[in-house]
Amino acid sequence: MSKYFLRPPGALPEADFLGRCIRCGKCALACPYRAIRVAGLLDGLTIMGTPVIWARQSPCYLCLKCVPVCPSGVLDNRVKKREDVRMGTARINKKECLTWQGTFCRSCYDHCPLFNEAITMDSELRPVVNEKKCVGCGICEHVCPADPAAIIVIPRDPG
């Protein structure tokens, strides 16, 4: 698991996020898919109370209802379209991916909300992530039939 967590859409870079998020939990209340979870003490003292998304369990469907309710502005209100979201980038583990290993599967390609943009098919009908377009919602990770998921979202660089 990555050291950084997948944050809701519009989240500021991690260092700023941790300092400015007031841990009020309103984004979690606003999420109709209950994808935004409130991190607990076991996730780490500095993380505790902040919103995290465990994409494998329930990904972000990019409805963006959480962004305007954030009182502290750590979810950036300027993010209004799903194409603007930059939560992270999906990465395919070709050794685990069914299609890359020869079985036909297009779950991630079919379910990607930026259809045929963020995940495309190469000439041999294998899925490829377009890192410039991928917003990191994690739907691909959620629907991947491989176990563990062969496509996972790497949270955006803390930068």
């Binding site: 941790l18 300092g19 007031i22 841990r23 009020c24």
Partner: protein, 264 residues
């Protein structure tokens, strides 16, 4: 008219709201949404003043929306004292409940001795200093009402609660076995912050000058005070959260002569 029944009604409503808001939110009705950290009522945003200044200290960025949202709660405290603590806060409701249980069971515990008003501001200052030095919003992790409300929402949304609730358990045990009402009285940073918004005209319990003759020195008011304060003194200590228990106890003894009352 007794104050305590009115206050109990407000407390029950507070708990009901704390449960109803996440329940309604989870069904898509979100006109009111939030927790005791920050709540949005339609377009109106209200934030705990202590919570609202944290980002300013932690990252030195001025967020006017967030700071402005603390003005109404701060103004309310300036006019009515820290009534949030006495009338609304779920931690105070729990602490009051366990204090009553503890006394019925005969558990011995005492009020901390000596002048404590400045000590609580030291606790608050240390917490804010840590926020400033480490860029970390520590008070959010120490806000008992915030934790209780967020964990209630989590229970409704996810069916589980987090270890954060341990703080609430520790507070209750410490209050039962060590120092009576230690959290609200001396430690809680949320309450200490609210008591900073206090002026000469802030509502408080006052022994009326004309009432001094009416006072029969029965000390029932001091006995009734859960925080161990003495309402008969010249100036009641700043941690008084205007619960009004002393006024009720006084009326019981002196009838309509009313030596004690709320005054602005």
């Amino acid at each position: 008219m007794k104050i305590t029944p009115i206050r109990r009604t407000v407390q029950v409503l507070s708990l009901a709201c704390m449960v109803a808001v996440p329940l309604l939110n989870s069904r898509g009705i979100s006109a009111v949404s939030g927790s005791f950290y920050s709540v949005g009522i339609g377009p109106l945003l209200l934030t705990d003043p202590l919570i609202a200044i944290q980002p300013l200290l932690a990252t030195m960025t001025i967020d006017t929306t967030l700071l402005a949202s603390a003005l109404i709660p701060a103004g309310f405290a300036l006019v009515f004292g820290r009534v949030f603590c006495g009338w609304v806060c779920p931690q105070n409701i729990l602490s009051e409940l366990f204090d009553a249980v503890g006394r019925r069971l005969g558990l011995t515990c005492f009020f901390a001795p000596g002048p404590v008003s400045p000590a609580r501001y030291v606790v608050l200052a240390v917490i804010l200093a840590i926020t400033l030095l480490y860029g970390f919003p520590l008070a959010s992790l120490l806000s008992a009402p915030g934790i209780i409300s967020v964990q209630t929402a989590r229970l409704i949304y996810e069916g589980t609660v987090g270890l954060e609730l341990a703080l609430i358990g520790i507070v209750i045990l410490a209050e039962l076995f060590l120092v009576r009402r230690v959290w609200c009285n001396y430690l809680c940073p949320v309450g200490s912050m609210l008591s900073l918004f206090r002026s000469k005209r802030t509502m408080r319990v006052v022994m009326a000058e004309e009432g001094e003759h009416a006072c029969i020195h029965c000390r029932e008011c001091a006995k009734a005070c859960q925080l161990g304060l003495n309402p008969m003194g010249r100036e009641i200590a700043s941690q008084c959260h205007n619960c009004g228990a002393c006024i009720d106890a006084c009326r019981e003894m002196t009838g309509e002569r009313k030596p004690l009352s709320f005054r602005f």
